[in-house]
């Protein structure tokens, strides 16, 4: 076999490695074990350069998935650390507002209407004579609840609908995509004004449901595209060739590889949903008093902005910081998950 000789001559590993085989896989009578040798030749130089001492070698054996890689990147990213700390702080504030404010946000004294800063009331009083600081702290709960629940709902519906449309294609895809287009085409503020003004209930869940209904098409588009891309990969074909059914293909192979862009879009959407809740509340169709919400406070403060700007600035500032924190987090997560940056 002249060809075989030619290959062996061209292959430095074929000669260099035969004596060094000491891995347990090297069965005695096997003439070549080049895969393991390849591995050794790949690992050894790095090991020598980076870690002169042997113990560090174990670090390379440790398995790292894409998520672990992403987490390593994130931990070093200052934007992630700042936005993450802010979000943790906001969540704590939403769950236990009593830790931060001792005053009841609904205990108001009209005689103190629009008064400025006084002892124990660092942000002053609003129109009704309520404590602005307490209302800002307690308002976090409504914003975070709406943001998190609406995002979870929209991500769930969007991922399932878009994912199934992308996976099965054909007429199902056409139908789902057209329905998504219809919801996508509804202007979100106009839809909110019409839809929420005819619903008698004032529950926070109505607002969440409305945002989910109008928000899922965005996630569905992303997940459909992502699933179609992943579906064409060879490893999906390989699993199909092994006899894997649709559910295994979707759960084991497609979903884990398609979920990264969905997470990124959902994180960024979370910030915009919080802003949307405030907008709807400002327009008088979202949350309604006595629910404490930044949007409601901004709305009621906007009339007397020139007399008492503190009533507007504190809830508006809290809202801006919250939205910014979530959008920055989404940005950092996108950078960490983007394979092009690796």
């Amino acid at each position: 076999m002249p060809d075989q000789e030619k290959y062996n001559a061209a292959d430095p590993l074929a000669e260099a490695g035969t004596e060094e085989l000491e891995m347990p896989s090297a069965v005695e009578n096997r003439t070549f074990d080049l895969g393991t040798m390849e591995a050794q030749s790949l690992i050894k130089p790095e090991r020598l350069q980076d870690h002169p001492e042997a113990p560090a070698a174990d670090e390379r054996v440790e398995a790292r998935s894409l998520w672990q890689d992403a987490w390593r990147d994130l931990r070093r990213n200052p934007i992630f650390i700042i936005s993450g700390l802010l979000i943790v702080f906001l969540i704590v504030m939403a769950v236990w507002p009593g830790l931060f404010a001792s005053t009841d946000p609904l205990k108001c004294d009209l005689s103190k209407s629009q008064q400025g800063v006084s002892s124990g009331h660092p942000f002053g009083y609003d129109n009704q004579g309520c404590d602005v600081y307490a209302r800002t702290v307690y308002g976090a709960r409504a914003s975070i609840t709406v943001g998190v629940c609406a995002t979870a709902g929209a991500a769930l519906v969007g991922t399932v609908m878009g994912g199934l449309a992308g996976f099965f294609g054909g007429w199902f895809d056409s139908v789902v995509s057209r329905i998504a287009d219809i919801f996508f085409g509804i202007p979100i503020l106009l839809g909110g004004l019409v839809f929420l003004s005819v619903v008698p209930s004032q529950s926070i869940w109505i607002v969440v449901a409305f945002i989910v209904v109008l928000g899922w098409p965005q996630i569905a588009r992303i997940s459909r595209g992502s699933v179609i891309t992943v579906k064409q990969q060879d490893y999906v074909t390989a699993a199909e060739a092994l006899g894997a059914g649709s559910s295994r293909l979707m759960v084991r192979h497609i979903l884990p590889n398609a979920v990264a862009p969905i997470i990124v879009v959902a994180t960024i959407a979370l910030g915009t949903y919080i802003a949307l809740e405030a907008t709807l509340s400002f327009l008088g169709v979202g949350l309604k008093p006595p629910t404490v919400s930044w949007g409601i406070d901004i709305s009621s403060a906007s009339d007397s902005f020139r007399n008492a700007p503190h009533m507007l600035l504190y809830p508006a500032g809290a809202l801006s910081i919250t939205v910014l924190a979530f959008i920055m987090l989404g940005d950092a997560v996108r950078d960490a998950l983007d394979p092009k940056l690796r």
Binding site: L13, L34, G35, T36, E38, A39, V61, A238, A239, G243
Partner: protein, 339 residues
């Protein structure tokens, strides 16, 4: 000769070309595979060569039942498998497996090597009982020349050659009788190519495998194949033993392909005569009438455009007498240089 393990009869795969958004109207078809017949025998390697776009990979997908054949039969041990579905198809998949071209996309990046090679056992639990699976996966890693301790690693921690070994281990897991290799080495370095080819040859002996080896590198195909089929535009133009094809080609297209093989010897390179084909490969959506190759063939005559040459043994003497789809099949009258 032994009983054929896989028999392909007049296999056709057309992809419809449609127009319109809502009411799709078929306006034509891409004839990716257009009437191919061949046999694969037990323990044999059949090489399939041809330039890009001639339908090699489509042929592999149809044989694997990843694409439905438009017409024709694929007989595995006498049973037509091209129309199976459901449980019967799943059972037949155990016997025919595939090794993919690109080792970087054929392994799921979110699964460990152990999960990737163990997945066939999860899909076909009857092959290995649950308790034995880890051991079975480690054995497979050992068989393909990888360290069994790599079981918890992820694909991105391996080189291209190692990944291809993982792909081969996955293909071997169900103990198939036939492995279809779709350009298994074309994405690898030359030195690693040789290792993977040698591994495939060694496994063939160990497990009595039959290979269908698709490639566009003629020297690798010659190295590994017992028989070689040459494809052009969805048709098999010539098929025979590797000596018959490489030394006594009778189809003009095969002769042109062989003359384009790079020769590593500069002195031999001067002396040989290359056949340079003019024009591009025609569109498979609108192939030429009669012989598919006539638009680029120097032997083409009136007859070639009206009459389709069938794959048949021409009336020639000696090793040139093998199946060739040409009206004017003849060995080329040139002194073969020392290739």
């Amino acid at each position: 000769m032994a009983e054929p393990i896989l028999e392909v009869r007049n296999l056709v795969k057309h992809y419809p070309l449609t127009q319109g958004v809502l009411f799709k109207k078929q306006i034509g078809a891409v004839k990716a595979v257009d009437g191919i017949s061949f046999e694969l025998h037990k323990g044999e390697t059949l090489g399939i060569v041809g330039e890009s776009g001639c339908g090699k990979s489509t042929l592999a997908k149809v044989l694997m039942n990843l694409e439905r054949a438009t017409a024709g039969e694929v007989l595995f041990k006498g049973e037509d498998i091209s129309k199976l579905s459901g449980a019967a198809l799943k059972a037949v998949r155990r016997n025919i497996q595939m090794v993919f071209q690109d080792p970087y996309t054929s392994l799921n990046p979110r699964m460990t090597v152990g999960d990737i090679i163990g997945e066939p056992f999860e899909i076909h639990p009857e092959v290995a009982p649950k308790g034995d699976r880890r051991k079975a996966v480690q054995d497979l890693l050992d068989v393909v020349g990888l360290n069994p301790e790599y079981i918890n690693r992820y694909p991105h921690q391996f080189s291209g050659g190692q990944r291809q070994r993982i792909g081969i281990a996955r293909g071997l897991a169900l103990k198939p009788e036939i492995i279809i290799c779709d350009e298994p080495v074309s994405a690898l370095d030359v030195s690693v190519q040789a290792q993977v080819i040698n591994l495939l040859e060694q496994l063939q002996g160990e497990f009595d495998l039959s290979y269908m080896f698709i490639a566009h590198d003629l020297s690798i195909v010659r190295h590994i194949s017992d028989r070689v089929g040459v494809m052009y535009l969805g048709k098999m133009v010539e098929i025979g033993s590797d000596e018959q094809i490489y030394e006594h080609a009778t189809h003009p297209y095969t002769q042109a392909l062989l003359s384009a093989v790079p020769v590593p010897d500069p002195t031999g390179r001067e002396g040989r005569e290359r056949i340079i084909l003019s024009g591009d490969i025609p569109s498979p959506a609108n192939p030429p009438s009669g012989c598919r190759f006539r638009t680029r063939c120097w032997k083409a005559e009136e007859r070639c455009s009206t009459e389709l040459p069938l794959l048949a043994v021409p009336s020639l003497e000696g090793p040139a007498a093998h199946e060739s789809a040409c009206h004017f099949a003849a060995e080329r009258e040139v002194e073969q240089s020392a290739a």
